[in-house]
């Protein structure tokens, strides 16, 4: 009886969760915050080095803040820019979680966007309730299939997914150029690679048009939020996510536990591609209304940074995506108000990534932000 009681107490004690450790807090909050601060400071130094005076630098950063969060329009632009980054970032993050470095988001965005556009202008007379979901689905499926090619080759032959996805990106650029010249897709009367316009029934409705005609925020943001919740559930609440994470942390242990690594690789790639494809569909149905060569605009590569910065966690990806979206929207304002080159925003983005990737540098720069004695493993 008493032994049973003892076991029960022990079991109860084992079920207690430890309070979040300070080291976790440092890693998740302090390092990124400092990374952003240092990047902004170094961005200022870079401006100084190119003979920009202090007053202009000050004005630039005020413009950066104003252009990203200072008004409804700024918020709308920030979220509009962040939505595809977050969607594609989720796809990349899924890959990271499963130990796959999917560089192919750019190509998957292109294929997804193309499929969505084709469905978006081809079916006339459909009600929006049917047409829009169909176009979105086309984007998702096209992205998933395109990514699954890399997954399948990786699983079947062991060829590295980085090489595969880079090559598939290359192919997708040319494929899109080719498709945009096909008579069925090319806009009538145009000789340059541009598609017909998406029909209104397949457009993602704008949300704030009643406030102002130039507010571009569209309902893709709801898709994005749903995708974030779905990925969270998938990764942490589903058996598939358990398999993904196990394969990512230790493919050998996962295999020994009876998980089918080949299937997991294909599935992860396909799911990641589905989100990138949705990002592409989001762009053409919500922002551009058509496809032209290079409509992916490097979102697939920024998504890598977003996933990295978000620590491959769906909520982290949201924050990172919003940060990048804010930098993009604010960077525009910076250019308008202070006449500072848009390249500076690229420099600041890169610096943030650099410092996140090298937390030790941040720790060295801001020793007072961290508890003394870097936590290290035992023994």
């Amino acid at each position: 009886m008493s032994e049973q009681g003892e076991t029960a107490t022990l079991t109860a004690r084992l079920l207690e969760r430890a309070a979040p450790k300070r080291a976790d807090f440092e890693d998740l909050v302090i390092v990124p915050v400092f990374a952003v601060v240092v990047a902004l400071i170094l961005g200022g130094v870079a401006m100084l080095a190119t003979n920009v005076d202090l007053e202009t630098i000050g004005r630039s950063y005020v413009a950066l803040a104003y252009g990203s969060i200072g008004s409804i329009n700024a918020l709308s632009e920030t979220i509009t820019a962040a939505t595809p980054l977050i969607l594609a970032g989720l796809g990349v993050a899924l890959g990271f979680r499963a130990g796959l470095f999917n560089i192919g988001a750019e190509g998957q965005i292109l294929m997804g966007g193309m499929a969505a556009v084709v469905v978006g202008f081809s079916f006339t007379g459909l009600p929006m309730l049917v047409h829009l979901p169909l176009a979105l689905l086309a984007g998702i499926v096209a992205g998933a299939l395109y990514a699954a090619i890399a997954g399948w080759i990786r699983a079947a032959t062991g060829a590295h997914e980085v090489i595969l996805t880079i090559m598939l990106n290359m192919i997708s650029y040319r494929l899109v150029d080719y498709m945009l010249r096909m008579p069925a897709i090319q806009r009538p009367g145009r000789s340059d690679p541009i598609s017909s316009s998406v029909l209104p029934t397949a457009e993602l409705p704008r949300l704030l048009e009643w406030l102002g005609p130039n507010l571009r925020l569209h309902s893709g943001v709801f898709l994005m939020l749903a995708a974030v919740l779905f990925v969270y559930w998938l990764l942490f609440r589903s058996t598939i996510g358990f398999e993904f994470r196990a394969s990512g942390e230790s493919p050998e242990a996962a295999r020994f536990a009876g998980m089918r690594s080949g299937l997991i690789i294909v599935l992860v790639m396909a799911l990641g591609g589905a989100f990138a494809g949705l990002a592409g569909a989001n762009q053409v149905l919500g922002v551009l209304g058509r496809a032209s060569s290079g409509f992916s605009a490097g979102i697939g590569f920024d998504a890598l940074a977003v996933a990295l910065l978000g620590r491959s966690h769906p909520f982290g990806v949201v924050i990172a995506g919003l940060l990048f979206g804010a930098l993009e929207a604010g960077g525009r304002q910076m250019q308008v108000d202070a006449g500072v080159s848009i390249d500076l925003i690229g420099i600041i983005q890169s610096l943030i990534i650099l410092f996140i990737a090298a937390p030790l540098v941040v720790r060295a720069l801001f020793p007072w932000g961290f508890r003394k004695g870097a936590p290290a493993s035992k023994e």
Binding site: T7, L10, T11, A12, R13, L14, L15, E16, R17, A18, A23, R237, S238, T239, I240, G241, F242, R245, A246, E249, S250, E252, A253, A254, R255, F256, A257, G258, M259, R260, G373, A374, P375, A376, S377, K378, E379
Partner: protein, 503 residues
């Protein structure tokens, strides 16, 4: 030469790895440093060899305090370390490996290998090491490779040599030869530190013994005066029993029937060659052998994680030759893999997640695609409590657990369900006395419940104390059988069979 560690304290964050450790190492003497895994032995030796800087205390050499800013300083002070994992370049010769990093050069910076070979021969003769300086490392047995490591240390004029778990990779014969080398080093006036958790070895070779537990020196002993039970109690902190109690041998029907099994390595070399064996219910079958004779491949093939090239595997009369790991698992086969860090657990996963690593799909833990974490957590906590997995919480990362607790976690996962056959590869490798005792008890419990058990181990003592039948594997084949129907088990005969000497 005399090295004194005085009040050494080393902390990692909040974890105290060494606390006020005092130790003296003298020329011409073997100091045995005994302790469980995680007791702080490695940390202490890393302080001594300059890898870590202590947070407190000092190191004195011949009475003079010294400061090591890095391993280079320690080497210059005459302290050399032979690591558990050898640091040799397989495609270089012995002489080339020995001089690597401190190459003797002739005029105009020419690599003078002739000189290197001569120096290796000289060291050979002085200490009776018998290593051909021109042989390539990859062609040498493990025991000889270890001697190359020793030559490397001697070549760098070490006066004190630290051996970290030196016998873990050796055959019994090689262990005997190794002890002879240690004795010759001692008589040549070297100071030796011998780190191990194996009691009988330390009793055989050490002059003095210090026992480390939880970062502190908890006791000292002298062979001949102190008994192995006393030492084990110091190590673990409670009385320990070495005897495995089990009921008389009364095997049931054949569970696992392996016929003419052939398994290949990655490079298509034959690892398991036309091997036949069986395991019956209620018996523990042990496979003894020097590592690398096909045991790992055999176990992987039986567990369904390596393809079978020929022959058949039957389980309870059912052909499972081509069955997946999951299918076998569902049939009631359990597998404790050889390399717990790489294939047994996922270090970044929590204890709870590791506890369901191969059962998460089971209706107990998930409904459809949705995991039932509540059930997982309840079950994991109960299993962790039942199998003595010491962790602050089941939400702790498995990688933060000690080796013994990681292994107990694997054992708990594999046995905490309805199993019929357990395949365990090196189930206690690198574990401390307390954990070994516990895991052995659990394995015997499984046998009492009527499970068949197949154990692969390179620890002869483990095989001898646990198993009802012992098979010796050499170059992919079973070359001898002891116990039960075969000859009575005898350490010397088994050792010879392991070395491939036909008996």
């Amino acid at each position: 030469m005399e090295i004194e560690l005085r009040g050494i304290t080393k902390r990692f964050g909040e974890v105290v790895a060494n606390s006020d450790v005092n130790l003296t190492i003298r020329a011409g003497e073997v100091l045995g440093l005994l302790g469980e895994n995680g007791a702080g032995k490695s940390t202490l030796m890393n302080v001594l060899s300059g890898l870590y800087r202590p947070d407190g205390g000092e190191i004195l050499i011949d009475g003079k305090p010294v400061q090591f800013r890095g391993p280079g300083d320690a080497i210059r002070a005459g302290i050399g370390m032979v690591h558990q994992h050898f640091m040799l370049v397989p495609v270089f010769t012995v002489a080339e490996n020995v001089v690597l990093g401190v190459e003797p050069t002739g005029p105009v910076d020419f690599l003078d290998l002739k000189k290197a070979r001569a120096q290796v021969r000289e060291i050979n003769e002085t200490y009776g090491l018998e290593v051909d300086p021109d042989e390539y490392i990859e062609n040498l047995p493990v025991g000889v490779q270890q001697r190359v490591e020793i030559i490397k240390v001697l070549f760098r004029s070490a006066n004190a040599i630290i051996f970290d778990e030196p016998t873990a990779v050796l055959t019994p014969q090689e262990v005997t030869e190794f002890f002879a080398i240690v004795k010759s080093l001692r008589s040549a006036g070297k100071a030796i530190v011998f780190i191990t958790h194996k009691l009988h070895e330390i009793l055989e070779v050490a002059d003095r013994i210090s026992v480390l537990r939880e970062g502190r020196i908890v006791g000292e002993g002298v062979p001949g005066k102190t008994t192995d039970l006393e030492l084990a109690e110091m190590m673990v902190g409670r009385p320990v029993s070495f005897k495995v109690d089990k009921t008389p041998f009364s095997p049931g029907p054949v569970l696992l029937d392996v016929q003419h099994l052939t398994v290949l390595r990655e490079n298509d070399a034959v690892a398991v060659n036309d091997l036949t064996l069986n395991v019956r219910a209620g018996e523990i079958v042990g496979i003894a052998g020097v590592q690398g004779n096909g045991q790992s491949e055999l176990v992987e093939a039986l567990a369904g994680v390596r393809r079978v090239a020929g022959g058949s595997v039957m389980f309870q009369g059912k052909d499972i030759t081509g069955a997946s790991a999951r299918d076998r698992h569902r049939l009631g086969m359990a597998h404790i893999p050889e390399d717990r860090q790489r294939t047994g657990i996922i270090a970044a996963f929590t204890v709870a997640e590791n506890m369901v690593l191969d059962t998460y799909y089971d209706s107990r833990f998930s409904r459809g695609l949705a995991m039932d974490w509540q059930a997982v957590n309840q079950n994991s906590a109960a299993a962790a409590a039942a199998f003595d997995v010491r962790t602050p919480s089941i939400f702790e990362k498995a990688g933060h657990l000690s080796g013994g607790n990681q292994q107990k976690l694997v054992v708990a996962r594999e046995l905490n369900r309805d199993t019929k056959l357990l395949i365990a590869s090196q189930p206690t490798r690198g574990l401390d006395v307390g954990s070994i005792e516990y895991i052995h008890k659990r394995i015997v419990d499984a046998r009492e419940e009527g499970d068949g058990i197949l154990i692969v181990s390179s620890e002869l003592d483990e095989i001898m104390s646990l198993c009802d039948r012992i098979l010796v594997m050499f170059k992919g084949r079973i070359v001898a059988e002891f116990g039960a129907a075969g000859r009575p088990a005898n350490k010397n005969d088994i050792g010879l069979a392991m070395a491939g000497v036909a008996a």
